[in-house]
Each structure stands twice: as C-alpha cells, then as structure tokens.
C-alpha cells in the first residue's frame, strides 16, 4: 500500500493573543501591562490521507480547519506534533515540497491585479520551472476545464468574483501539484459557479490523481466531492470516516415526507412528526423500520396520499449533530 500523502500526528497549535477589558481605565492599564491569553486552535489531531483521496475537512467557524491547512501548507509553525506532506515537513518549506502542493483560499488572490492572468501564469511558469510543453498542455487543459479563454487577457482587477476564482484555480494548479488544499473554494460564488467549480475539482482529481483536502461550509460541495470526511470542532477531531457512515451514526433515522390531498391529521403512530404544515408532514422513523413504516403509511392513508418520499436526513443536520455532541466518535476511523 502507498505511504500516506498527508500524515498528521498529534498536531497542535496555540495562538497567544492580547486581551483587555473594555473601557478607558482598562485601555490605560493595557498600555502599562499587557495581558495575554492562549487560544488553543488545534488540539492534537491525528489523521492521514492516501494518494488520490478527496477528503472533506468540516467544522464550524473557529474549529481549526484553516489553521490546520496553513500548517500543512507550511505557512504556520505548529506548537506541537508532527506532520508530513509528500514526505516533507511542511513548515521547513523546502523547494520540492512547495513545488508539489498548492493552497487555494476562496476570496484570496495570489495574482497580480494590474496585469492579465496570462502574464501572471508566465511568471508562475518560471517560478515553478515548468517545462514549455508541460506548461502548454496544463494550461490548455485548465482553460478547457474552467472555460478560461475569454478571461486570460483581461487584467485580473477587471474580473468578477467567479471569474477571478477560476483564474485563481488555474494559477494554483499550473504546476500540477500532487496535493491541493482547498479552503472554502466556492465561498461567495453563485449556485451555477459553485457547480462548475465542483465539477472541475472532481474532474481534476480524476485526471491528475491529485490528493485533495477540502474545507467548505456548503454541504453540497462535500456531498458532491468527498466520500470521506474529517470533522473537527474546537480543535479536536470528532470524526474521521465515510460520509455515508456519518449519517448513519449521527442520525439513525430516515426522513419520510408525505403530501396529502387534504389536511394532515395525527400521524404520531407512524413515527416522530417533525414538521406538519397544511397538507405536508415530515416524519422521522428508525432506519431499520423505514420500509415497514412507509408501507404502512401507503396502506393506511390510501387515497388521501398524494406523494411520499423517503430520504436520509440532510447532511447539514447530521453535521450539526456531530458539532453538538462535542465529543469524538472514537470508534470511527478512516
């Protein structure tokens, strides 16, 4: 079996931040004596990612996702623990490591604003020492996948947010990195652009075999791209395993939505009625009994029933439950 591309062991990061109370007196006191507080951003997380995997890295704001990505891309030195990416210690930032990975952050620009993207790409070509033929091939591929042609020769500052994200993606992937850390890549984009970026990431992964660790608050991104997710909260790893298992573990129920021809009556006998509006009701039933309960609903409601659907609960709801539990699901492993 191949060695993991990303290997993280007991990684820890503590920030030291200044702190003071509000008010004039506290302001003057802080001029003489500063008070510091330690903020534990990442608390000893351990995981590894194999070559070619696309892993969703989930957590609420302030969970430690971006801090972890910054450590793995060599921007931050950790307070403790170890990590290797492509066999290199990231924060040593040696050339081979930097040439082999990329970190793309939504809403952050790495291109020169005043010149067209095509010119920035030529600079990147030289910085990463990309051979001419490989450069042309990769650029053609990225232009094709991201539909970049009309954007390449406009100054970057003249591009819309979605257009800019596309050229940022191309800039970050021109050197064909083996590992891509994507931090909120669809942040602020409209639905259609989010979909395009998702399709692009999936296709890029398939074509290049790159390993991808992705954070996103849009669960659609995660569902579309990641079979495996790592969930952290307050710097602690809560879950590392298959996305499908997470739903089963955290939400051991199915959601049945019934639409009736008339007003909804008392459906408590079929399961836990979660919502009930006019002629539509949502009922939670234990996973194992979902088939039986559905059959009973069809049988007993008869002609009253206009429509019925059985689904897993939305992934947002599942993730919320993991965050709310605030304790690791110890038995879950990748």
């Amino acid at each position: 079996m191949d060695a993991p591309v990303v290997d993280v062991r007991a990684l820890r990061k503590v920030y030291r931040v200044t702190e003071r109370e509000t008010g004039l007196a506290a302001t003057f006191r802080s001029l003489v004596k500063r008070r510091y507080r330690e903020v534990l951003a990442v608390d000893g997380i351990t995981f590894h990612i194999d070559p070619g995997e696309v892993v969703g890295f989930l957590g609420p704001n302030g969970a430690g996702k971006t801090t972890t990505l910054k450590m793995l891309s060599g921007l931050l030195h950790p307070t403790g623990g170890e990590a290797t990416v492509l066999g290199h210690v990231p924060w040593r930032r040696d050339g081979t490591f930097l040439r082999g990975m990329t970190l793309l952050m939504g809403n952050r620009s790495q291109l020169v604003w005043d010149i067209p993207a095509a010119d920035s790409f030529l600079v990147l070509k030289e910085i990463y020492a990309i051979p001419d033929a490989q450069y042309r091939r990769t650029l053609d591929e990225l232009t094709d996948l991201l539909e970049l042609q009309p954007l390449l020769h406009k100054p970057v500052r003249g591009l819309s947010l979605g257009e800019r994200m596309k050229v940022e993606f191309a800039a970050g992937l021109l050197h064909s990195p083996g590992v891509a850390f994507l931090d909120e890549p669809t942040l602020g984009l409209d639905i259609s652009m989010q979909g395009r970026i998702r399709r692009f990431v999936a296709e890029y992964n398939q074509r290049s075999g790159a390993t991808i660790l992705l954070t996103s608050h849009y669960m659609d991104d995660v569902v579309a791209l990641c079979r495996r997710v790592i969930v952290i909260h307050r710097g602690v790893l809560l879950y590392d395993g298959a996305l499908a298992d997470l739903a089963e573990r955290m939400a051991p129920y199915k959601r049945i939505t019934v639409t009736l021809r008339g007003a909804v009556g008392d459906l408590a006998a079929f399961g836990e009625v979660v919502t009930s509006n006019d002629n539509v009701a949502t009922i939670h039933v234990p996973r194992a009994q979902a088939g039986d309960r559905t059959a009973r609903l069809v049988r007993e409601l008869g002609d009253q029933l206009a429509d019925i659907s059985v689904e897993d609960p939305p992934i947002e709801e599942v993730i919320d439950k993991v965050f709310a539990s605030e304790r690791p699901l110890a038995e879950a492993t990748a």
Binding site: K70, G74, L75, R99, R108, Q110, D114, D119, I127
Partner: protein
C-alpha cells in the same frame, strides 16, 4: 533564476506602466528636500565669503546633486510595504511559492529606479546649471562609484528588510520605520556633508550603516575623497552589507515562526 527575473521584470513593468504618473511624482518629491538643503547651504556659503568648512557653493551643488542621484538609486520602501503585505494577506501566497518573497521586491525596486532614472537626470541637469555645479573628481572616482552604489543600494534594501521583519512581532511598524528614517536623516549626510558635522557625529555616522548608503557614494561621486579613503569606504560598505544579510537571515527565520498568517 535569470528566467524568473526576466519574467518578473516584464510583469512588473506592465504593472508599473499603469501607475507611471505616481512613480514620476514620487521621484520629484524625493528631489525637494536635497534642493532645499542645497539652497540653504549655498546661501550660507555666499554669506561667509564663498565657502563653509572648505565647501564652496559649487561643491555643495555637486554634493547635493550626487546625493539626490544616490538617494534615488538606493531608495528602498520594502519596510513600509511589508506591513501591508501581511495585513492584506499578500505575503502568504508568496510564501507558498518556491521563491523567496525578497525577489519580488528586488524587481519592483529595480523597475521604479530604471523607469524614473531618465527624468530624474533631466531634472538634475537643470539643478546643476542653476547652481553652477563644479565636479572635482578624477576618472577613478567614477569607476569606484559603480561598486560603491551597488553596495549602497544592496545595503539599503537589506536594511529595509531587517526593519520589515519587525512586523512579525509588532504587527504595525510605522513608528519603527519613522525612527529608522529619522536616524538615517541625521547620520546619512542629508543635513550637510558629514565633514561639516561635529567630530563625534562623524564618528557615530561611520560606525552606523547609514553613511555607507548615502554620504559615502555621494562623496565618491563628487570626487571629494582620496583613493585610499574610497577603498576604506568600500570595505565599510561590504562589512555592513554582510552583517545586514546575516541579521536578515536570523530575523526572517525567527519571524516566520511567529507568523500567524491572519487574514490570509
């Protein structure tokens, strides 16, 4: 590295072309102060019968014209830029690439100087004619000026980077920059040629790096120093440059450990 620099130069020239009026104005601002000092010292020399401490009005003109040219070729603003680079999250993308962020500044610095050198020289010719300049040098002064100005520009640039690294610890370094600039103003020979300063100030000036950035190459270009002293000055410049590079390497490595990449 040559290919990288060539491509960075092309990109920087394209970017700078969009702000050429701004660059021209910066260049003109940099002339105002030395011309004011030149006018003041010319007035003093005239009032004292033609010279002050061995400097005639024409010598002052030669010194301040040389100083203005040297100042233009040695100016470095990276300590001001760096704070914004960090605050606006522009440093992180550079740190992610296999090229030290310092190289982008080298190119930016070179492009400004190259693109504004010709108009600066035109203005200096007008100043020279107005103040009746007299050049007292030998041919070898011009030869020695070349390594001297290269060392001075490199020293100024690297000192700027050492100051810039303070941002890793202090977040805002405006005051550090101001202190640095004011100290340079006093000890680099901008108020007057260093030979006219009190002796203790001359000792301090040559012990600090600032004189080696401005006064030394300006005096060499003016032709106001002996060959022996010129060579001694070159050694002083090289020593300070070496020390500054060592200080930068330590400060950079330590600073990166402090870097919190906030907002980036």
């Amino acid at each position: 590295m040559i290919r990288i620099y060539r491509q960075l130069l092309v990109a920087q020239i394209q970017a700078a072309a969009q702000y050429r009026i701004q660059a021209l104005l910066w260049m003109l601002f940099s002339i105002i102060r030395p011309v004011i000092f030149l006018a003041a010292w010319t007035a003093v020399a005239t009032a004292q019968g033609g010279s002050v401490g061995g400097y005639s009005a024409s010598d002052f003109a030669a010194y301040y014209i040389a100083l203005t040219l040297v100042n233009h070729l040695c100016i470095a603003w990276n300590s001001f830029e760096f704070e914004f680079e960090i605050r606006q999250g522009r440093l992180s993308p550079k740190l992610l690439r296999p090229l030290h962020p310092l190289h982008y500044s080298v190119v930016e610095n070179l492009v400004f100087k190259i693109t504004t050198l010709l108009p600066l020289c035109l203005v200096l010719v007008i100043v020279a004619l107005t103040f009746n300049v007299r050049w007292a040098g030998e041919w070898w002064h011009l030869v020695i000026f070349v390594p001297s100005i290269i060392l001075a520009a490199a020293l100024s640039f690297m000192l700027g980077w050492v100051v810039a690294t303070a941002t890793f610890w202090l977040q805002r370094i405006n005051t550090v920059n101001t202190l640095f600039q004011r100290t340079a103003f006093i000890f680099a020979g901008q108020i007057a040629p260093l030979a006219l300063m009190p002796e203790w100030m001359q000792v301090v000036s040559y012990a600090l790096p600032f004189a080696y950035i401005l006064a030394v190459p300006a005096e060499i270009l003016r032709g106001g120093v002996t060959l022996e002293r010129c060579l001694l000055y070159l050694v002083g410049q090289a020593v300070w440059l070496g020390l500054t590079i060592i200080a930068f390497r330590f400060a950079w490595r330590a600073g990166l450990r402090e870097y919190s990449a906030v907002g980036a």
